[in-house]
Symmetry: C4
Subunit: 202 residues, 4 copies
Amino acid sequence: MTAETSRVEAFSDGVFAIAITLLILEIKVPPAGSGALPRDLLRQWPSYFSFLISFAFIGIMWINHHRLFTHIARCDDALLILNLLLLLGVVVVPFPTAVLATHLGQSDQLTALILYNSTYLFIAVFFNLLWRYASSDKRRLLAKDVNSPSVQRISRQYAFGPVLYLVCLGLSWLSAAASLALNFALACFFAIPPNVVGSERE
Amino acid sequence: MTAETSRVEAFSDGVFAIAITLLILEIKVPPAGSGALPRDLLRQWPSYFSFLISFAFIGIMWINHHRLFTHIARCDDALLILNLLLLLGVVVVPFPTAVLATHLGQSDQLTALILYNSTYLFIAVFFNLLWRYASSDKRRLLAKDVNSPSVQRISRQYAFGPVLYLVCLGLSWLSAAASLALNFALACFFAIPPNVVGSERE
Amino acid sequence: MTAETSRVEAFSDGVFAIAITLLILEIKVPPAGSGALPRDLLRQWPSYFSFLISFAFIGIMWINHHRLFTHIARCDDALLILNLLLLLGVVVVPFPTAVLATHLGQSDQLTALILYNSTYLFIAVFFNLLWRYASSDKRRLLAKDVNSPSVQRISRQYAFGPVLYLVCLGLSWLSAAASLALNFALACFFAIPPNVVGSERE
Amino acid sequence: MTAETSRVEAFSDGVFAIAITLLILEIKVPPAGSGALPRDLLRQWPSYFSFLISFAFIGIMWINHHRLFTHIARCDDALLILNLLLLLGVVVVPFPTAVLATHLGQSDQLTALILYNSTYLFIAVFFNLLWRYASSDKRRLLAKDVNSPSVQRISRQYAFGPVLYLVCLGLSWLSAAASLALNFALACFFAIPPNVVGSERE
């Protein structure tokens, strides 16, 4: 973090923090008087389920955003715009999450899954664009040497993102369970620090 | 950013971040059971459309706010009040956005457009007042010399704001499409750094 | 702002920023199809009105919070608790605002006004407690000398708060218009820097 | 606070600030026209009650989070994940709070209480895990010496958390009033600085 990037990080932190907290508003409170609250609560499992995946996703995205900006020391206008496009994806997440929560296990499950996975694919693509722009040789926005191993390890790990989220999207047509399981596994994969993933031996 | 302005920026960042994230709450989730989720989702295009314009507008306003405060080094009480009036505009944005989303393509479209464009005009005016106050010769709130080219370039670009948003408002009566297209084009125009817009050659 | 108080300020800024932005969610969007959007919008004047007073109140409270913490350099546990009680008042504001918006001009107007003014009285009391605790001679939480004129001027201006908000509450029984007008006037009064209010000549 | 942990704190502050502010959205505004607003407002006492307990809980949790990070100077990936799990608990709080507000004094009160107390137990466990991980001898994430009295006092106070919240959960079956009273007492207990609780003489 440098003085130059600190306000971008503060604004991004705010957006991440709000988007992750708003997710809970999508979980509805069963009304009083049914006399069967345990059953009413259990019936809402798709809401809890999609809440948890989205929470993990946004939280781990934040960890990654934090990781990138440990390396990024300077900021230009194109980086601000790319960051804004990434945040667009983050802000949108509560909507496909709520759509998935409403339609999981219903007749329109496939459409909800496609919407959900497409959002994540969009975010993965912009995460890569942001990082590729910042770490590009010409721009010198990084603090460290562009060829440093830690920079290259991030680039290597991130290159998997769009491909794997595309697989996730493709799986929507074959199996909802497999698609969501891979989606969750991907969040965990990006939680692993790149020096664990990307190192060959070192 | 200086110690003196850092809390103003933190508070403003918070307001921008929340206003931009709350926009998504206006997009409603189609209920389960209709069996036609793709159609239900597509029908909501005015919601997505007004969400995107407002997201671009608030995001780019934030970039501009960030730009101004790169130059502003000192803070007085009048600046705090002017900043608060600007934030009033930002906070209000989700309301005309939701009104536009509900009434675009309906019989009351014109009223919704007038409300929407008036909000943006209000914000453009206060952005100018804030900047003119801060960059005024007497007050010495800027870090750099008031006559520096970069300060003058910002003043020149911002002078267009109120005029062009007034044109936008006027277009509401002639063509909704043209008005919204110009609105979006204006957001993009203010995303361009002032040294690209304002420089003749230098 | 010091390292010791910076996180208290960051958390408080967050709460102020969110409370002020959530106010807009209480303004409802008139549904499509009535064909009379201008009239529907105008009918909601109590919503706009209470939104504006509450926005001014929270915004100016933030300015004052900012002012206090310019003087407060150290932080202890009791100050954290007092600050939390102040923030409790801030967080609550959207509720009496929405109650007022719903009941202004209706049969239950008086109850709504009492609730609204009581909240503000509560906040004024805790603002004073916070400042009196921090500026107390023994605790040495201030950066400057406790007897400095600027510290004494704040104490003098703040002493008016609880008394005047009590008058505001009393006016609820006599005239809703007078009570709300005084409420708004008070927000403006606290926007004035204490060196303008409290100085005799100096 | 160090540069290394400052963004973790900023993000956490954001989440705490939003979760605590969103609580107010669960309190509904009685509709106009009943002519009995005072009675309608009083009838909602379970909402105010659960709002206040949750506000105290999140606020005091924030104070504790702040206290921990006064000691934590370095940050690794496991700490980020543990912090995220703690924040998961914080984000969830508005949901059991709303469930409790709806079902307190109704036939399904017990289920609501179990859900409420379980959430708090979950958070207490992760607070301990976070602190135990950070203060572990091997990891050296603390600024001070791990054996310093103030670090040991925090460990001692926190060890009570999970046990006492488990008692709280157990009390749900015996007496709702006792369970909620203990819950609120626990929030107050953790507001007390550890040097008051844990000191034997010193």
